[in-house]
């Protein structure tokens, strides 16, 4: 077991984890933050996307021990309980979700995308979202949601 300290959504946690435990499982099992979803568990689907020290990353492709000392934001940390972010509101408005399994990863990726590039063009949105798979929506609603969120965040 390895002792690690991580800040998750602003709260400091001291944990003892097996080195082989991926960050997603640390978040879900040790901290009960089940908003981060695991689809493929080998880096393809993007459902597990979280923000580590400001970077959107796949939490299935990082061991918890590698996040020792890091600050992590999960889907639970993006908004308060009774308020939606512009990205979350846009996903609701445009039916950017059906079953919702991919949605936490989508929302985290869209948020990171717009933080880095507040006014992306269509091509940049498509490239930026290419790392998140959705088996339900057909993506059009998600792309529209990114556009609306970009506008809403700029006003």
């Amino acid at each position: 077991m390895a002792d690690i300290t991580i800040i998750v959504n602003g709260t400091v946690h001291q944990l003892s984890v097996e080195p082989r435990k991926i960050l997603a499982d640390v978040l879900r099992e040790d901290l009960g933050l089940t908003g981060t979803h695991l689809g493929c568990e080998h880096g393809v689907c993007g459902a597990c996307t979280v923000i580590v020290d400001g970077d959107a990353v796949r939490s299935c492709l990082q061991f918890g021990v590698q996040a020792d000392g890091a600050s992590v934001t999960t889907i639970e940390g993006l908004s308060s309980a009774d308020e939606l972010t512009a990205v979350q509101q846009a996903m609701a408005d445009h039916h950017g979700l059906q079953c919702g399994f991919c949605t936490p990863g989508m929302v985290v990726s869209i948020t990171a995308l717009l933080d880095a590039n507040p006014d992306p063009d269509d091509q940049q949105i498509r490239e930026g979202m290419s790392g998140n798979l959705c088996r339900c929506t057909g993506y059009q609603g998600i792309l529209r949601a990114v556009r609306q969120a970009a506008e809403a965040r700029s006003t």
């Binding site: 390895a2 097996e18 080195p19 082989r20 435990k21 991926i22 499982d25 568990e41 080998h42 880096g43 993007g46 996307t49 970077d55 959107a56 990353v57 796949r58 299935c60 492709l61 990082q62 061991f63 021990v65 590698q66 990726s109 990171a112 995308l113 880095a116 498509r126 490239e127 930026g128 290419s130 790392g131």
Partner: protein
């Protein structure tokens, strides 16, 4: 939790990493984890010990001089992509990085990890080969330099000995009147390429003075196209027969057929991809 159990070590110097790697049992270096962790999750591989290089400052440096840019092995792909001075000095690197996976992958994946992994469909090994980069390597018996031409031996296999690590990659800088382009065919943006090319052209006194064509997805390693390069050198940019360049570049190659594409498709498309990339590189070189 799918990977098999392992011990985790976090050395703070290259020397510590190298001696950890030389210990008993199956040991492996962990860089960005974007290729290693998937194969561990699938239990295709298992190790007694993983040696994480993330705390070694020496491996995160970027140094640019008049004639070369040296990139530490642990420089993240996203860091390199956003490093304006580096992308200006070695444009082919910046152009290729935009094709590597997705931004979330590049936020963790490293330059050295991609090159040490030596996936024949990966962009960065082909860039290293096209630019005649040199690999700086450290082992228990000291440090050595391996040229890109000698580095890539086969699929996922390099000249690195079992107890050696890649410390940095030195890319020569081509200077003015040169142009570069990366072209590839993949099913979706961010997927590994089915076939692609990274090439560079330098013009001097109105004629092509240097030409370099790197290919990926066309064999068990990244490849150069020396005959096509020879056709370009000495030619006036306006007289280049692009069709001949493309067909010569893939001429005697025998790429594999797999679920993604047949060998014939790879060659046919490869010829076109080379022609397009060379066109763009020449245009850029002509702009100065």
């Amino acid at each position: 939790m799918k990977p098999a159990a392992f011990d985790y070590v976090l050395p703070s110097s290259v020397e510590e990493a190298v001696s950890a790697l030389a210990g008993e049992g199956d040991r492996k270096v962990l860089a960005g984890g974007q290729s290693l962790i998937p194969v561990m999750a699938m239990r295709l591989v298992a190790f007694d010990e993983l040696i994480d290089l993330r705390a070694i400052d020496e491996l995160k440096r970027i140094e640019i001089t008049d004639d070369s840019a040296t990139v530490g092995a642990m420089v993240r792909q996203a860091t390199a992509e956003q490093h304006q001075e580096l992308c200006a000095a070695v444009p082919l690197l910046g152009q290729a990085l935009a094709h590597v996976g997705h931004f979330q992958i590049r936020n963790r994946g490293t330059i050295g990890g991609s090159i040490a992994h030596a996936d024949p469909a990966a962009e960065l090994p082909a860039v290293a080969l096209a630019l005649n980069a040199s690999m700086e390597v450290a082992g228990q018996s000291g440090r050595r330099t391996v040229t890109a031409a000698d580095f890539f031996e086969s699929t996922f296999t390099t000249a690195l000995a079992e107890n050696e690590i890649l410390t940095s990659i030195r890319f020569p800088i081509w200077g003015p009147q040169s142009g570069f382009a990366v072209e590839e065919i993949s099913r979706r943006h961010g997927d590994f390429a089915i076939v692609g090319t990274a090439c560079g052209v330098r013009i001097d006194n109105g004629a092509i003075a240097a030409a370099s064509i790197g290919l990926f997805g066309m064999g068990s390693t990244p490849l150069r196209a020396p005959d096509a390069e020879a056709l370009l050198i000495g030619t006036n940019p306006g007289d280049v027969d692009l069709g001949a360049i493309g067909t010569t570049a893939v001429g005697d190659l025998e790429p594999t057929s797999d679920v993604h594409a047949s060998s014939e498709y790879r060659k046919a498309v490869g010829a076109n991809v080379v022609a397009q990339a060379v066109t763009r590189a020449i245009e850029e070189a002509q702009r100065g």
